[in-house]
């Protein structure tokens, strides 16, 4: 009954895996690995202690860059959204910077920080900064005027308004924004590592290919990236489920 | 919603302009004070742009990037929308396919680069493949959500008037889900633009992304690097604005609550 729901996607995935195995075995030139080889690659990485080490390295960079960005972007974005003129001034700049891929900042970040962890974390910081700021700005702008008026009506000071009206009102949207931006940060860490460092999942993908065309390891890396990304997303979603924060999701 | 905001019309242009001037001035003097030989000043960037235009590279590179986005994005739209509509319509199929989509989605298109290099070598096809991959999933999801958000009232009304299943899909479900789909297309186009730059940086031989990397590698031309970044931002912004214009069409605007 209820298990049937979970069974069908698993069956589908299994079918895909079989199809992949079949397609891979039929290649004229053995370029792409099949599922079995990828599995073997994962096992090898785990045995060599690299799997855990690389996962930790990538997560480490994401945590640094993302947290720093959040600490700046959220208060900053809330303040910007609150003051109409400030938002007006900054908006064109934000809109101009948004379409620039974080990767395009690589030369600049290497110039400023050299090659290494700091440059990679800086890239993630940059990639997270703008989306989080925009989220915070939009969250403030979408607070219904009635909430603010009610707060004033009951005689709240400015600080009171911020703590007791603004902050609770924006939390649901902020959490969604954090989740989405975390996903972006995870995408970028992979790219950043391909270029600037010597450990991590992104590095693994590039290195495995360059040093010996180990495509089984490349795909193993990709699979790991996908799974970790999914886990990050799921854990953020569970945060959204916390009851006291759920007030704004009740409709729909 | 904030403090009473009686903003005058001219202020909409004044404040951003003021900020831009302040920013440029700050940039200019920062370069002067640190005496950097490498990091360009605003004037240096402008000269770099002129140089690119003069060498004929400017429009060629812009055209290359836009072309790749155009092809990859169109392919993603042509395949993603029908698939998304179908998955949205047959929820049983969606339940099966959705977990797979959720798993493949977090894999950065960048991570697909080695595979695409293997398949397509360096250049156009690899970039287009990556753009297609990156744009495909958001479009499918937008179409799926669009169908799911069509109120059952509309479907019932369609059936009431005697529409068969195909007509129901084309005359009711599709127009009703169009606002959601258009938003998904706009976001997807934004992603495509990000990816083309990344793809060109790693596996390209021309285009704005390639320019960013190449300008640095062959001569530390940071003025060209920044010039390229500015162009990327500008064109990406223009693409976004163009799409937002689409959202103002009356046949679509109904789907958006009025924004402040």
């Amino acid at each position: 009954m209820a298990y049937g729901i979970h069974l069908r996607p698993l069956v589908f995935i299994s079918v895909l895996l079989v199809a992949w195995q079949f397609a891979a075995s039929r290649q004229p030139v053995h370029l792409l690995p099949d599922p079995v080889q990828v599995g073997g690659g994962l096992v090898e990485l785990a045995r060599r202690g690299l799997l855990l080490k690389y996962i930790v390295a990538s997560l480490f960079r994401v945590t640094w860059g993302f947290s720093l960005a959040a600490m700046i972007a959220i208060p900053g974005g809330l303040a910007i959204g609150w003051h109409r003129r400030t938002e007006m001034a900054l908006n064109p700049l934000i809109q101009l910077l948004r379409p620039i891929s974080p990767l395009a900042w690589i030369p600049i970040s290497i110039l400023w920080f050299g090659v290494g962890d700091v440059a990679a974390s800086f890239l993630i910081f940059l990639a997270s900064l703008l989306p989080l700021t925009v989220t915070a700005i939009n969250a403030v702008k979408s607070i219904p005027a009635v909430y603010v008026n009610a707060g004033r009506n009951f005689g709240l000071s400015s600080a009171g308004l911020v703590y007791r009206v603004l902050y609770p009102a924006v939390i649901p949207q902020l959490i969604i924004g954090l989740r989405i931006t975390l996903g972006i940060a995870w995408l970028v860490v992979v790219a950043a590592e391909m270029i600037a460092v010597n450990s991590g999942l992104g590095f693994l993908i590039v290195d495995a290919r360059n040093a010996g065309s180990r495509y089984d390891l490349v795909v193993a890396g990709m699979v790991t990236i996908g799974i970790i990304g999914l886990l990050l997303d799921m854990s953020m979603r569970s945060l959204e489920g916390v009851r006291s924060l759920r007030w704004s999701y009740s409709e729909d | 919603m904030t403090a009473p905001a009686h903003v005058l019309r001219w202020e909409r242009y004044f404040w951003p302009a003021l900020l831009a001037i302040a920013f440029l001035a700050l940039w200019h003097y920062a370069v002067r004070w640190t005496g950097s030989k490498v990091f360009p000043s605003p004037l240096g960037v402008q000269k770099g742009l002129a140089e690119l235009a003069h060498k004929g590279l400017l429009w060629r590179y812009i055209g290359d990037s836009l072309r790749r986005v155009g092809i990859g994005f169109s392919a993603a739209v042509a395949s993603g929308i029908p698939l998304g509509l179908t998955l949205g319509w047959y929820t049983a199929a969606a339940q099966v396919v959705n977990p797979v989509i959720q798993m493949v989605r977090p894999i950065s298109p960048i991570a697909w680069i080695p595979i695409s290099i293997v398949l397509f070598g360096v250049g156009d096809s690899a970039a287009i493949f990556l753009i297609f991959l990156a744009a495909f999933f958001p479009i499918v999801l937008a179409a799926m959500n669009g169908v799911g958000s069509v109120p059952s009232m509309f479907r019932r009304a369609g059936r009431n008037f005697g529409l068969g299943p195909v007509e129901l899909l084309t005359r009711v479900v599709f127009p009703a889900s169009l606002p959601q789909i258009i938003i998904g297309l706009r976001i997807s186009l934004g992603i495509a633009w990000l990816v083309v730059v990344a793809a060109e940086m790693i596996a390209g031989d021309s285009g704005l992304g390639y320019l960013v990397i190449d300008a640095r590698n062959s001569g530390k031309r940071y003025d060209l690097v920044i010039a390229a970044m500015l162009l990327i931002g500008l064109i990406g912004l223009m693409l976004d604005i163009a799409f937002r214009q689409l959202e103002t069409l009356k046949a679509i605007r109904w789907g958006f609550r009025s924004e402040s």
Binding site: - | M153, A157, N160, F161, V172, P175, K250
Partner: protein
């Protein structure tokens, strides 16, 4: 306990619709809710019938069953003798004004069901109904540019344009302010008298039911049974301060068990 009351059509009028022994049980998460209990109704041709009851009592469910959108757990609905097993353009369901298609203009909406007609015929029809419901001048407007009352009129026009035998209206004026509601009731009666469709109208508003209907079927709260049928034999236009009107209205008040004072 209340016996099941049969709502029989007035004599000398042929029966258009017959609901026989309708029961409806909803099952969700293992719990089953009995929504409709042993409903039997006959509706005469050209009659204006009201289903009246508190919100959530199941009258909308009944209307959906009668229109063919839901299958009853047991029992059947017959229209002109034939069993109903799906929606049909000959009996159009009017939702609240949210039912108009927002991506089509007024013309587009009214012409929606007319796809089998020639273009000339279709345009003539559209023009006729635009005028009939008083939306002249707004042909090219989109629903988001119309007021609630206008959207409701648009939906009625869309329904009438395909010339159905029956109209089912599910609390159509619920989202309108009370002044507009009074105006719309008059409009609806005007249209009904012009074309004499058979109408089943669901409402929770007692005044509305007594103002509009030939017969009012008073339904109890869940599980819904027919509590009483009240025949409103006041000719139109009805004076809502006349003694007869107030008698009938107060009778229903009492039937539902409401006090006369607030």
């Amino acid at each position: 306990m209340l016996q099941s009351v049969m709502a029989i059509a007035p004599r000398a009028v042929e029966t258009k619709l017959r609901a026989e022994d309708i029961n409806m049980v909803f099952r969700r998460d293992g719990k089953s809710t009995n929504v409709l209990d042993n409903i039997n109704i006959e509706v005469g041709k050209g009659e204006f019938l009201c289903l009246l009851g508190p919100s959530g009592c199941g009258k909308s469910t009944l209307l959906n069953i009668v229109a063919g959108f839901l299958e009853p757990s047991s029992g059947a609905v017959r229209i002109d003798g034939a069993i109903v097993n799906g929606p049909d353009p000959r009996r159009i369901f009017v939702f609240q004004e949210r039912g108009v298609f927002p991506w089509l203009t007024v013309e587009g909406n009214i012409g929606f069901g007319l796809f089998k007609m020639s273009r000339v015929e279709r345009e003539r029809r559209i023009e006729h109904y635009v005028k009939l419901v008083g939306l002249g001048g707004f042909e090219k407007a989109y629903p988001q540019e119309l007021s609630g009352g206008m959207k409701q009129r648009l939906e009625v026009a869309r329904a009438l344009a395909v010339n159905p035998d029956m109209l089912f209206l599910d609390e159509p004026f619920g989202a309108l302010d009370s002044i507009t509601r009074l105006i719309m009731r008059g409009e609806l009666l005007r249209l009904w008298e012009a074309e004499r469709k058979t109408i089943i109208f669901v409402t929770h508003d007692i005044e509305e039911a007594v103002q509009l209907a030939d017969r009012v079927v008073v339904m109890s709260a869940r599980p819904a049974r027919i509590q009483r049928i009240v025949k409103i034999n006041i000719p139109h236009p009805r004076d809502i301060s006349s003694r007869r009107y107030l008698e009938l209205r107060d009778g229903i008040f009492a039937e539902i068990g409401l006090a006369h004072q607030i």
